[in-house]
Every structure is written in C-alpha cells, then in structure tokens.
Symmetry: C2
Subunit: 325 residues, 2 copies
DNA sequence: TTGTACGCGTTATCAG
DNA sequence: CTGATAACGCGTACAA
C-alpha cells in the first residue's frame, strides 16, 4: 500500500537509517494506518533470533523474585528484549521442564536461579549455544557466569552477630534444601559460625520448611516448645522470620526480650514488622539489572562478560537483642 | 534419521494417535536421541497459533498481581499454554505499548487488569480477533468479559463499618486514580458511605499516592498533622495501610487507640502487622485461575464463556476499633 | 536507495 | 498410515 516492496518495509522496521526519508515516512504512514505489527513467528524463522530471554524462578509469590524480575525486565526492555517467565515451584524436575519449554520457544538467553541442577541440563544449554546467567548465588570458582552474592558468608556473619550478643542456644528455621543451593549455603554459614565457637546445629534445633508464613510459624512453635528453649532463632528468609514472630506473639512470649529473631533478604515486610527485623540486606533489584546486562553482553559475544558478585549488609533492627537484655 | 518425512514427525508431535505405533516409536527415539525441540517460530508461522497468552499487569512488585499471575500461569499450563507477562508500571501509555508488543508476538489471548483504557485499544483487539479477559474489576453491564469483584461495593462496606464504629473524622489514602478504575472505584465507594451519613471526603482528608510503603507513610503523616486529626484512615490497599501504621508509630501515636487503619486486598502482610490489619479479603488466586479458564473457553469459541464475579469479605482484625475505645 | 528472490522450520492438504 | 509439496511472513544477499 505504500508502493514499496516487502524488503523495504522490513528495512524501515529494522534499519530505518538505510531508507530514504521520503519512502520511510510513506511506509510508516501505512504501518500506522493499518495498525501493522510484524509477525513474530516469521521474524523468528527468518532471523533465528527472538529478542526474547527466559527466566525460570521458583515462584512469583516471593517478593524477592518479583522485585528481581521487575528490574530484569526493565533492563531488558531498554534493549528491546522481552522477558518470558516460568516458575518451578522449587521443584528441580519442573525446572528442567520449564527450561526445555523456553528453549523450544527459541529464547536467546536464560536467567536461572542458583547453581544446583542436573549437569545434563548444563550440557544441553552449552550444546545449543544458548547463553545463560545464574542469579542469586555466587561462589568463587563457579564455572558458569553468575550474578549473586555469597549466601554462606552472609549467613555466617549473621550467626556470628547473634553469638557476639551472647546467645548460645541458637535454633534455625531453614528453607527446604533439596535442589536449593541458597538454602544449603545459609545453613552451612550458620554452622560455620557455631562451629567456630564449638557449638552445633543438631536435629532438635534445625527445621527445614517451605518458605511460607505459616510454615515458619509452625516451625518456631516447635522449636520453642523444648526446654530450655532457644534464645535466638535464625531464619532462612524474612517470611519465615515473620512467621516466627507470629508464633512468639501467640505463645505469650515477646521478641526480642524472650527470643531474638533474624531474617534474610530485607524485603519491605522486614521493615514493617514489630519489632522490625534484623536481617541481611540483599540488593535484589540491582542483581536483576546486572543479570540483564551480563546476559545481553553474553548474547552479543562480548568478551568483557564476567560474573558479578554483590555485597550483602547486615541490617540491625529491633528483633535481635543481646542475651539477657 | 528415523527414515520418515517431516510430515510424519509433525504428526507424531501433534497427533500421535494418527501414526502407527511402530513409526511413532522410531520417531520418538530419534527425538529423544537428538534432544529435538520443534522450532517455535516455524510452528507459529505455519499454524498461526502460539499456545501463548499474554498478561499486562501494573507491576510484579505488588503481591496481589504476583499471586494472581502464579495461579493464572498454573491453570494455563494445564492446557499446555504458556504465559508471557509484561508490566505497565501503572502507565496507560506503556500499557498500550505492551499490549501491542504482545499482539506482535502472536499471543492468542490476553489478560488485562481493569477496564479503563483507550477505546481504540479495544477496537484493535476486536479487529484482530484476539480474545481477552479483564481481571480485578467487575461491574454490571461491563461490555467485555471480565473476572473480578465490585471494588466500589467492597470499599463502601468497609467505610460503612468504620462509620458504624462511631468514626466521623475519616481520611483516605488512595492509589493514583489516573488510568486505574479500581482506585477510582474504591474512592467512590468510600464517598458513597460517607455521603449516606452526610459526610464528605474533601481535599484535606484524601491523598492520592502510588502504592508504596513510604508513600503511604508520608501520606498518613500529612493527614495526621491537621487538627483535629482523623480518627480513622481508610487505605486503598494493604501496602498503603502498612505505611500508615509506620507513620502512626513513628509519631508516637498508637493504632487503633489513637487512629484506626483499614486496608484492602488481604495479602500476607496484613496478617503479620501489629496490630493486624482490618482489610477486605480478595480471592486473588481464585480470580487468576478463573481468568485462565474463561480465556481458554473464549479461545475455543465456547459459548458458555461468560464473566465471573467474586465476592469479597471484610476481615476484622485489630487495626480498626470503635471510636473512643 | 530499492527491488528480486530464496530460505528459515513447521503445518496442512492432497495423493498414494 | 505416510510422503510430497505448498504455503506461512519475514530477513537478507545480491542485483539493479
């Protein structure tokens, strides 16, 4: 309708500077008039690129992933890349399925949470030449590009802080460790700190449970029902800690007077709780944005594409107090 | 490699029952061996379907959308449909862009939040024949298929409750109403209830602000700095209410003794606050699942595809108390 | 600067 | 039940 060939239309859409201003405006007018949108499938078929990257996260119901995704998506959008999100519900099997589904959709990049997964999956990714970035985890010598932080060190620092305040009967509510290297690292970090003082985390003072409010509440109730009860509960994330505070309140106890509580993540929730939560601040948004940049670099085969490690910070609020205060 | 034509491979993948067991297993073996995945673009081009539906939400950082999406995605996945999510950041202009982007990707269905948008957009959708469902809003006579609840009636009921408890100096912290029919309806509902008692919401006791914790905190501080100060603050959602509680605490006041606060949505946050939030319970997950079912029906051209309205419930907790208690 | 012509991987039609 | 073949809409050498 603009009196030009399809090739010219294609150029107007993809490399407008290579078309004369006159023809370009004619084409643009026609595009606007007919409300034309290029066909994604045709485009993908011809160019073998989709301008799409996929992300597989455990669940959107956890604020940390929601925030990270939001930042990831915003950063990708700046380069005209669309994000497709899938969820695994913390199930490694399901995660593998979702990764395959995204590959089938021709994503030209993947963002995955953590490092723990079947080696065969990594092989598939490399064989297909699909660039990917691991987020949320970081350790020295990780063989894949990752954007994260040292979960173990952060948890260790938190436990050390608790110990420094005089606590000795310390319990932990951890996330489910199966297939979740962050949850494992956080338990290990706490163990490190305790071991340095000759203490350990045994069956009675470590509970592993899904990252849900009521799960945290139940776990805390169980931990606090032994005698003598722990004086501090270290939690695998803020949601579990919020649950622990609920349990403490409902048992007629008080935090931090009777029991101190610590969290991990520093989501908004931590700040509005009463007492506000002492927790580990994690820069979720910045990680999401950094993951986007790294992935775009990998995709463009740039050689300055390298892993990024973020620092975490211990945020001291009211839920953790010296023993016997 | 299986010694068959591409047509047969296609059949094995899409209508396995139309292929003899023998050939089928040969093909399946080859598929497994080469870890073959059909090319999404080619498929979309040839079949003109993508088995993809798109959703445009304001932001993933609000737990209500995250929960709704999660449920939507799970329900769609049961029918082999993938969900692609885009965010508008509460900007109508950006929402329109995102909708066009999703149409360009050939989504064969759309889930949109609320009803307020440019009529031209609705025309585009109808012209293209892309089925869509509006979620989160519902009103009698809505011309489009929707899955939601009556925001206005729910807000009215909440305000009535506040009035019934003796409050007369009532303020409201609302979400930004521009392009957000839910925010508008909630303000209208509160106005309805006040008007029925001869009261009104004027400039000094209504603040419109983004749905963020600190925005709610600032708004509450402002509302509470007039004399005489309001005895109750009705909030447009739970996040704003949490912010209001922070302000109250930081001003040396106490809720609900000095000021009552109410929320809207009933996210987990509402339950862990101290005092726990009196709020409007909204079945976000069920709405998401219902939206998925309705959209799948529309897509299949089933004629029993009709709007769904959900009931909300007033959840009484500690943040709202009788005046002068 | 613009047009021609081919091929991308799949599905659908038709014939065998 | 299976194979040959023609679209599907676009990007991109190459030619003009």
């Amino acid at each position: 309708m603009a009196g030009v060939s399809t090739a010219t239309v294609s150029r107007v859409l993809n490399e407008p500077e290579r078309v004369s201003a006159k023809t370009r405006s004619r084409v643009e007018a026609a595009v606007a008039h007919f409300d034309y949108t290029p066909h994604f499938g045709g485009r993908a078929l011809a160019s073998n690129r989709t301008n799409t990257v996929g992300a597989v996260i455990p669940t959107m119901e956890n604020a940390i992933f929601a925030r990270g995704l939001q930042a990831l998506q915003e950063a990708l959008a700046e380069d005209g890349v669309t994000l497709v999100v899938a969820t695994s519900n913390y199930d490694p099997e399901r995660e593998a399925q979702q990764i395959r589904a995204l590959l089938g959709r021709g994503v030209d990049g993947l963002v995955l949470i953590g490092e723990a997964r079947d080696p065969a999956l990594y092989e598939t990714l490399e064989r297909r030449g699909v660039p990917f970035v691991l987020v949320w985890s970081w350790r020295r010598d990780c063989p894949w590009p990752c954007v994260g932080f040292d979960n173990r060190a952060a948890a260790r620092a938190m436990a050390q802080k608790v110990l420094d305040l005089g606590h000795r009967r310390i319990a932990m509510i951890a996330g489910v460790t199966h297939g979740n290297d962050r949850a494992v690292a956080r338990v290990d970090g706490v163990r490190d700190a305790l071991a340095a003082r000759g203490l350990r985390l045994d069956e009675t003072n470590l509970i592993e449970t899904p990252y849900h409010l009521d799960a945290g509440e139940n776990a805390a109730r169980q931990l606090l029902s032994v005698t003598p009860r722990p004086t501090a509960i270290v939690c695998g994330n803020d949601v579990l800690a919020a649950g622990a505070l609920l349990a403490i309140r409902s048992m007629g106890l008080s935090a931090p007077a009777d029991v101190s509580v610590t969290g991990f993540d520093d989501i908004d929730l931590a700040y509005v709780l009463d007492p506000p939560l002492t927790t580990v601040h994690v820069p979720h948004r910045r990680m999401g944005a950094a993951a986007a940049r790294l992935l775009l670099r990998l995709r463009a085969q740039e050689d300055n594409a390298t892993s990024v490690v973020f620092e975490t910070a211990l945020v001291e609020r009211g839920s953790l107090a010296p023993l016997g205060k």
